[in-house]
């Protein structure tokens, strides 16, 4: 195998990994703070893509309109998450986690059909903005400029999450709640408010993921089903609630997928599941655990 091909596949793998991280970060944040699996994360991702389609229809095809629509889609999905948290999830805090998880699963069913009611059963596509179409000539091969979008969004997520978690008081409380909730409450801090922030940030990230993926995928009501499982696996491999573990795991997944296509194309979709199963068997608490 040519070295330049290896290098380009590595770069594509890292970019895809960064995209997975945008989704996984939200999921793992919710997992760490609320201790539940948000099954609706894939649906929020799907909603992000649909809003992106609608907003681009209003804003037009330019590069600026693309980024503006992406931000708007992420904010809209964040607002929906806020409503979900305030109207539904809030009433189940303190009940069994299974009930909270099943509540998010009911949203998967409801959103899937609601999208078909609103947007119809056709699939949609979003045109690639000018700035991101075409490709770069790196390592002697061509890499689509579009992967740059994934790379930048991922890095932006890393920086912003780091600032939130380590440089704000809210982040500090969120980390404390993840470790020992009752202790935090004993100090007179309202943990439920932290839950709201974590859930909304998770939703914004899911919406952002859907928006930036929209030029690369067919936008359908089922688009969240397969990705959500893959993102779950990233979160497991990284260690539940461990954001930096998720970052490493997401990059491993991205790289293994891009090389999986190269080496063992037929069972490419089985790769992530196999990695996750092996890690869980060898290191049940994720790759960064002791």
């Amino acid at each position: 195998m040519d070295l330049s091909i290896v290098a380009s596949y590595l770069l594509i793998g890292i970019s895809r990994g960064m995209f997975y991280f945008v989704l996984a970060a939200g999921l793992t944040l919710i997992l760490g703070v609320l201790k539940i699996i948000n099954f609706a994360h894939g649906s929020l991702y799907m909603l992000g893509a649909f809003f992106m389609y609608t907003f681009i229809g209003i804003a037009g095809q330019g590069t600026g309109a693309f980024f503006l629509s992406a931000v708007m889609a992420a904010i809209t999905v964040g607002f929906i998450s806020f409503i979900i948290e305030q109207m539904l999830l809030k009433h189940l805090y303190g009940k069994e986690h299974l009930m909270q998880m099943l509540l998010t699963y009911s949203l998967v069913l409801i959103f899937g059909d609601s999208v078909e009611m609103i947007w119809g059963t056709d699939y949609y596509t979003v045109a690639m903005p000018k700035l991101l179409s075409g490709s770069y000539h790196i390592f002697g091969t061509y890499i689509s400029k579009f992967y740059l979008l994934f790379l930048i969004s991922g890095l932006l997520t890393v920086v912003l999450l780091w600032l939130y978690m380590y440089k704000t008081k809210l982040g500090k409380i969120a980390r404390a709640v993840a470790t020992n909730r009752s202790m935090v409450e004993a100090l007179g801090i309202n943990a439920d408010a932290t839950f709201m922030y974590a859930f909304v940030i998770g939703g914004v990230l899911a919406g952002l993921g859907g928006a930036i993926a929209s030029p690369a995928v067919n936008i359908t009501s089922q688009m969240g089903d397969s990705i959500i499982i893959k993102v779950f696996l990233v979160v497991i491999v990284g260690g539940l609630g461990n954001i930096w573990g998720s970052l490493i795991a997401a990059i491993i997944f991205g790289i293994s997928e891009s090389f999986g296509v190269l080496i063992f194309p037929r069972f490419e979709i089985a790769f992530p599941f196999a990695i996750a199963a092996i890690v869980l068997i060898l290191k049940p608490r994720g790759i960064l655990s002791k």
């Binding site: 069913l109 979160v235 539940l240 199963a277 049940p284």
Partner: protein
């Protein structure tokens, strides 16, 4: 006296179910078969979920591998009896291998590993076109001669359901069943009174995979075809919904839940195409207002001996 009345009602229901093909049309019979297949599948899940307290998010794997084993074996060799035995046997092998790794984990980690392992099986079945038929599955699976009419197939699913449900009822009320409940409610406390909780939980998973395997055979009898969809995580999630809607802390809950879900979706599908929406609303309402499920709710209301809010006591 209460006990006797219950048994009488049960016997009347069974007699009604057995003679149903005499009065009902073939479509209703098919829907009833689906209910029995699903109810057995849900009961097998609830053994680990409700009694064992384990977050088994991917029970459909065991139904799927059993249905596939039967179908592939019968297609290649033609021996029905071995195929019927092979299905649950393969399910038990999968259950044992997965269970060995699963019992080391608990809570969400357990649930995540069930999804990872289950989706791995799904991915292999989906992609191994030359062996499993890939995404198309196996469109027509041969059945033994005595299952040629729809009435015979209905009676078969009913009898399989009755025998398995009786066996499961005996299991959950046996000393082993009590141990399983103990590990499900408080694993640490069970361990502290020197229960080998890993062995108990593993046995629970293996038994549950066995009955899921039987429901796989029942599924083939009902649908006469298999496809990778039966192994997909959404199928597992739907059966979880059936268990919850009926009530996971009662034995009858999953049966009632399956019946309610299938009846509602069947009726709703005649008027609209948004079935998932209806299911979602049902689940949402149950989670928010009836977390003990229909059976748990009724038991609480009529103040039955087993008050649902006391969980088994």
């Amino acid at each position: 006296m209460k006990f006797n009345r219950k048994v009488y009602i049960l016997l009347i229901l069974i007699a009604a179910a057995l003679t149903a093909p005499l009065v009902l049309d073939s479509y209703s019979i098919l829907v009833l078969s689906e209910i029995f297949v699903t109810a057995l599948f849900a009961l097998s899940l609830n053994l680990v979920l409700g009694y064992g307290g384990m977050l088994q998010f991917h029970q459909a794997v065991f139904l799927g591998v059993s249905a596939y084993s039967y179908s592939l074996f019968v297609l290649h060799s033609g021996s029905f009896i071995i195929g019927i035995v092979l299905g649950p046997a393969v399910a038990v092998i999968f259950g044992t291998v997965m269970g060995v790794f699963l019992v080391r984990l608990s809570g969400i980690y357990f649930g995540m590993l069930t999804i990872a392992l289950g989706q791995l099986v799904w991915a292999v079945v989906f992609k191994w076109y030359s062996f499993t038929g890939g995404g198309n599955g196996i469109p027509s699976v041969p059945l033994p001669g005595f299952l040629s009419t729809s009435t015979e197939r209905y009676e078969a699913t009913l009898i399989i359901f009755l025998i398995s449900a009786f066996a499961l009822y005996k299991i959950v009320n046996s000393p082993f069943g009590l141990l399983l409940k103990a590990t499900g409610q408080n694993n640490t406390r069970a361990e502290s009174i020197s229960v080998n909780t890993k062995v108990v939980r593993l046995t629970g998973i293996v038994l549950s995979s066995f009955f899921a395997g039987i429901s796989g055979i029942s599924y083939v009898i009902y649908s006469q075809s298999v496809s990778p969809d039966i192994l997909y995580w959404k199928n597992s999630a739907e059966i979880l919904v059936a268990c919850l809607v009926g009530g996971i802390y009662t034995f009858a809950g999953p049966i009632v839940g399956s019946a309610v879900i299938i009846l509602i979706t069947t009726i709703a599908s005649q008027y609209m195409e948004y079935i998932a929406f209806v299911l979602g609303i049902i689940l949402l309402v149950s989670v928010l207002f009836m977390p003990d499920g229909i059976v748990g709710f009724i038991k609480k209301r009529i103040g039955d001996g087993i008050a649902a809010n006391k969980r088994y006591q």
